[in-house]
C-alpha cells in the first residue's frame, strides 16, 4: 500500500491508517487515521483522554498497534521496535519531556547523536533557536526549569537528522512568555522538518498548525485545514469543549 496524496497534492510523509491499540485489556485507540503531509505542521486535537498521546506512542512503536498500518515515507513501520522507528528519522518529544536528570544538557544532546558529530553540525541551528541552552550546557537535567527542560527536549530531537518530529503538549505548564518563545521555535524548525503536534491549548494550535485531526473516544472524527476549523464553531464546541 502506497501513501495517498492529499488534496494539495503534497506527498504524505506519515500515513496512519485505522490503527487499534490496546494497553493491557483497555481498547484505547479504536480506529485512528492520521495523514501528515511533507513539510506541514499537523495538530492532533481533542479532549483529555481521547488517545492523542497513545497515537504518538503507537507511531513510535512503544504501544504497537494490534490492527491497522503505519507508513513512514512509504515504508511500513507498525511492527518495528521503537529504536528502529527512531532511526528512520522520527524524533519524539513526550509530554513529560524525558530529560535525563543525571546527564548534563550537553550530554542529553550528545546522547541523541546518531552519527558522530551530529551535535556539532546542528549546533548553530539549535542554539540559534534556543540561545538559553548554550548558556546552560554544563548544568544537569534536574537543575533546569520546566521551560528550559521543554527547550532541551525539543533541541534533543533536532540533533540527529529527523524528518518528522512528534511533539506532545509543548505548552503544558509553561508561562505565557515561554509559550511564545516555544511557538516561534517550532515555527522556525518546521521550515526544516515536518511536525505532528499534540496540543490542548487551542490558541497555540491555531497559530502553529496548518492542518488538524480531531480525536474523540479513541477515533479520529474530523480532519482538514486549520483555516476551515477556525470558522467551524460547531465542531470546536462539540469536540474541544471551549470556543
Amino acid at each position: 500500500m502506497m501513501p495517498q496524496t492529499t488534496e494539495e497534492s503534497m506527498p504524505n510523509l506519515l500515513t496512519v491508517d485505522h490503527i487499534h491499540t490496546f494497553i493491557g485489556q483497555f481498547h484505547i485507540l479504536e480506529g485512528v487515521s492520521v495523514t501528515v503531509p511533507q513539510g506541514s505542521i499537523t495538530v492532533l486535537l481533542g479532549r483529555n483522554g481521547v488517545g492523542k498521546t497513545t497515537t504518538l506512542r503507537t507511531i513510535m512503536g512503544m504501544t504497537p498497534p494490534a490492527q491497522g498500518t503505519i507508513y513512514f515515507d512509504g515504508q511500513p513501520i507498525h511492527s518495528l521496535p521503537t529504536y528502529e522507528v527512531a532511526q528512520l528519522g522520527i524524533g519524539y518529544v513526550p509530554d513529560y519531556r524525558a530529560i535525563f536528570r543525571d546527564l548534563t544538557v550537553e550530554e542529553n544532546l550528545r546522547l541523541a547523536e546518531r552519527q558522530k558529530g551530529d551535535l556539532n553540525r546542528k549546533a548553530d541551528f539549535i542554539f540559534g533557536l534556543f540561545p538559553d541552552l548554550a548558556r546552560l550546557r554544563g548544568l544537569r537535567g534536574n537543575q533546569l526549569s520546566g521551560g528550559q527542560q521543554q527547550m532541551l527536549a525539543i533541541a534533543r530531537a533536532l540533533v540527529p537528522h529527523n524528518r518528522l518530529l512528534l511533539i506532545d503538549e509543548p505548552s503544558e505548564g509553561l508561562a505565557p512568555v515561554i509559550i511564545e518563545q516555544m511557538m516561534n521555535a517550532i515555527r522556525t524548525l518546521s521550515t526544516q522538518t515536518t511536525v505532528l503536534l499534540v496540543e490542548q491549548n487551542f490558541v497555540v494550535a491555531r497559530h502553529l498548525a496548518d492542518r488538524y485531526v480531531i480525536l474523540d473516544d479513541g477515533q479520529s472524527v474530523k480532519a482538514g485545514t486549520m483555516a476551515d476549523l477556525v470558522g467551524d464553531r460547531e465542531t470546536i464546541r462539540r469536540y474541544l469543549g471551549a470556543a
Binding site: M62, Y83, A86, A98, D102, L103, E107, A112
Partner: protein
C-alpha cells in the same frame, strides 16, 4: 559549595564514622595488628566490590535481581583454575567450541539452501524445537566420543550441531525480521575460517597445553584472569539473551530463574569438578618463600609475605586491593566518560526515552549483563589463589555482595564501593574482636564474644543504614 557538601553527606558521615571507629580500635591495638586488620578488611572489601559492582550495575539499569551472580564468581574461578592448572583439559574443547561457532556462522547460508518450511519462523515451533533437540543430541554425541574419533567426524559433528542450534534460535528469526541480511559470503567466509582454525587447534592443542605449563606462572595467571572474565562475559551474555530476556515482563519468574541457576550451577560444578577445594598456586610475582621487610624490597624480591609494622601480611592480597581500586576507577570512567556510560545513566532513569532516541536498549542490556557477570567472574579468578576454588564459593560470597549492594543503594557503583569498604572492614575487625575480646573501660575483664558476631556485624550495619536511609547510602529512593 554547601549544596555540594550536602549531597555528599552520606559519604562524609560514613567515612567520619569509619574513621572514629578506626581511631577507637587503634588505641587498643598494636600498630602492626591495626595495619594488618585494616589491610585484611580492604582485601575483603575489594573482593566484595568486584562481585557487588556488576550486581548493582545490572540491577540499576535492568531491574534484574540476579541471584545467580555468585555463580559467575565461581565459574570465573574454575575457568582460571583450569587455564592455570589443567590447560590440556580446557584446550581439549577449543576445537569443538570453534566448530560449533563455525556451524552458527554457516547457518544463514545453509538456511537458504534448505526448503522454507523446515527453517522458516513460519514453519513453527515444532521444527524449531526439533532443530534444538537435534543440536543438543549432536553436541552431546560429539562431546561423548570426542577423544575416540578422528578429527574430521568430530569437527563435522560439532559444526552440524552449531547449524542446528542456530536454526533453532537466532539465524531464522533475525533474517526474517530484519529483511536486510548480511551478504552470504560473509557467513560462509567466517564459517570456513573458523573451521580452518578448529582443524589447526585440533592439531596443536596438546603441544600448546604442554608448552603452557612451562610458561611463567604469573603470565599464566594473568591469562587465567582474562579467561575467567571472558567465561563470565560469554555465559552471562548467553544467559541474558536466552533466559532473562523472555522474562522482563515477569520479574518474579526472573527471581525464581536466577535462584534456580544458583543451585543448578553449584550442582553442575560438583559434577564436573568434584566437591573438594581446588588449590590454585600463587603467581610467581607473589610466590617466593620469604618475607620482604618492606614494600620497596618486595618489588624485586616478590616474597609471598610482606612486613607490615612487624607483622607478616600475604603480599598477594595487595593485588586484590589494587584490582578492586582499578575496577572501581575503570567503572567510574566508563560511566562518566563513555557513550555506553551515558546510555546506562540515562537508561537507569528512563529506558523508553533512550529507545526513542534510536538506541537499541536491548543490546545494551545484554552488554551490561555480560559486563557485570564478567566482573564477578574476574573477581572469582582473582580470589582463587587465596580462598581456593570450590562449588559453594559463589553462594557464600553472594550473600555478602547483596548486603553490600543494599547498604550502598541498589544501582549505585559508588555506593557499592563504600558498602564493600564498610562490610570488609566490619568483617576484619569483627574477627579481631572475636579473637581478642573487647575491653570496655568500665569493666574489669575483657568481654568475649562468639564468632558468629563477626558474621552478624555486616547484617547489623545493613539494618542501621536502612533505618537511617531506607534506599541505601547512595540510593535514589524510588
Amino acid at each position: 559549595m554547601l549544596t555540594q557538601l550536602k549531597s555528599q553527606r552520606p559519604l562524609l558521615t560514613t567515612l567520619a564514622l569509619v574513621l572514629v571507629g578506626l581511631v577507637w580500635m587503634g588505641h587498643t591495638m598494636k600498630p602492626g595488628t591495626l595495619a594488618g586488620t585494616l589491610l585484611s578488611g580492604l582485601t575483603l572489601g575489594a573482593l566484595y566490590f568486584l562481585i557487588a559492582s556488576g550486581l548493582t550495575l545490572i540491577f540499576g539499569l535492568m531491574d534484574v535481581l540476579n541471584f545467580a551472580h555468585g555463580t559467575f564468581f565461581m565459574l570465573g574461578a574454575y575457568a582460571a583454575w583450569m587455564w592455570v592448572e589443567q590447560p590440556a583439559e580446557l584446550l581439549r574443547w577449543s576445537p569443538f567450541a570453534l566448530a560449533l561457532m563455525a556451524g552458527i556462522a554457516l547457518a544463514v547460508p545453509v538456511r537458504q539452501q534448505l526448503p522454507g518450511p523446515i527453517t522458516d519462523v513460519a514453519g513453527g515451533r515444532v521444527w524449531r524445537g526439533g532443530w534444538g533437540v537435534a543440536g543438543v543430541a549432536l553436541a552431546a554425541l560429539a562431546v561423548w566420543k570426542w577423544a575416540l574419533w578422528p578429527w574430521l567426524p568430530r569437527l563435522l559433528l560439532g559444526t552440524v550441531a552449531g547449524v542446528a542450534f542456530a536454526l533453532a534460535f537466532g539465524a531464522t528469526r533475525t533474517l526474517h525480521r530484519r529483511q536486510r541480511a548480511r551478504p552470504l559470503w560473509q557467513g560462509i567466509g567466517l564459517g570456513v575460517l573458523l573451521l580452518v582454525v578448529a582443524v589447526w587447534a585440533d592439531r596443536v592443542q596438546v603441544g600448546w597445553a604442554n608448552a603452557m605449563l612451562n610458561w611463567d606462572s604469573s603470565l599464566r595467571f594473568a591469562g587465567g584472569l582474562l579467561i575467567g572474565a571472558l567465561a563470565g562475559a560469554l555465559t552471562g551474555g548467553i544467559m541474558e539473551w536466552g533466559l532473562i530476556r523472555p522474562l522482563y515482563v515477569r520479574p518474579i519468574y526472573q527471581v525464581l530463574l536466577t535462584l534456580g541457576i544458583v543451585y543448578a550451577g553449584t550442582e553442575l560444578a560438583r559434577t564436573i569438578w568434584g566437591v573438594e577445594v581446588k588449590r590454585m598456586n600463587k603467581p610467581s610475582l607473589f610466590g617466593a618463600r620469604c618475607r620482604s621487610p618492606d614494600f620497596l624490597s618486595w618489588l624485586h624480591e616478590h616474597c609471598a609475605s610482606l612486613n607490615v609494622w612487624g607483622r607478616a601480611f600475604p603480599s598477594y592480597r595487595l593485588l586484590i586491593i589494587v584490582l578492586g581500586v582499578l575496577v572501581f576507577l575503570g567503572m567510574v570512567v566508563l560511566l562518566r566518560r563513555s557513550r555506553l556510560g551515558m546510555i546506562i545513566r540515562a537508561g537507569v532513569q528512563d529506558r523508553e526515552a533512550v529507545e526513542a532516541l534510536g538506541i537499541n536498549v536491548r543490546r545494551v542490556f545484554t552488554l551490561v549483563f555480560a559486563l557485570g557477570t564478567a566482573l564477578a567472574a574476574f573477581g572469582g579468578a582473582a580470589a582463587s589463589p587465596f580462598i581456593g576454588v570450590y562449588p559453594e564459593m559463589g553462594m557464600e560470597y553472594m550473600l555478602q555482595a547483596f548486603i553490600v549492594v543494599v547498604i550502598g543503594g541498589m544501582g549505585s557503583v559508588s555506593g557499592a564501593a563504600l558498602g564493600a569498604l564498610l562490610v570488609g572492614l566490619a568483617r576484619a575487625f569483627g574477627d579481631y574482636i572475636v579473637l581478642s575480646g573487647i575491653h570496655l573501660p568500665w569493666l574489669e575483664h575483657t568481654v568475649r564474644m562468639s564468632p558468629s558476631i563477626a558474621r552478624a556485624s555486616t547484617v547489623l550495619i545493613m539494618a542501621i543504614v536502612l533505618m537511617v536511609r531506607p534506599s541505601g547510602l547512595f540510593g535514589h529512593g524510588d
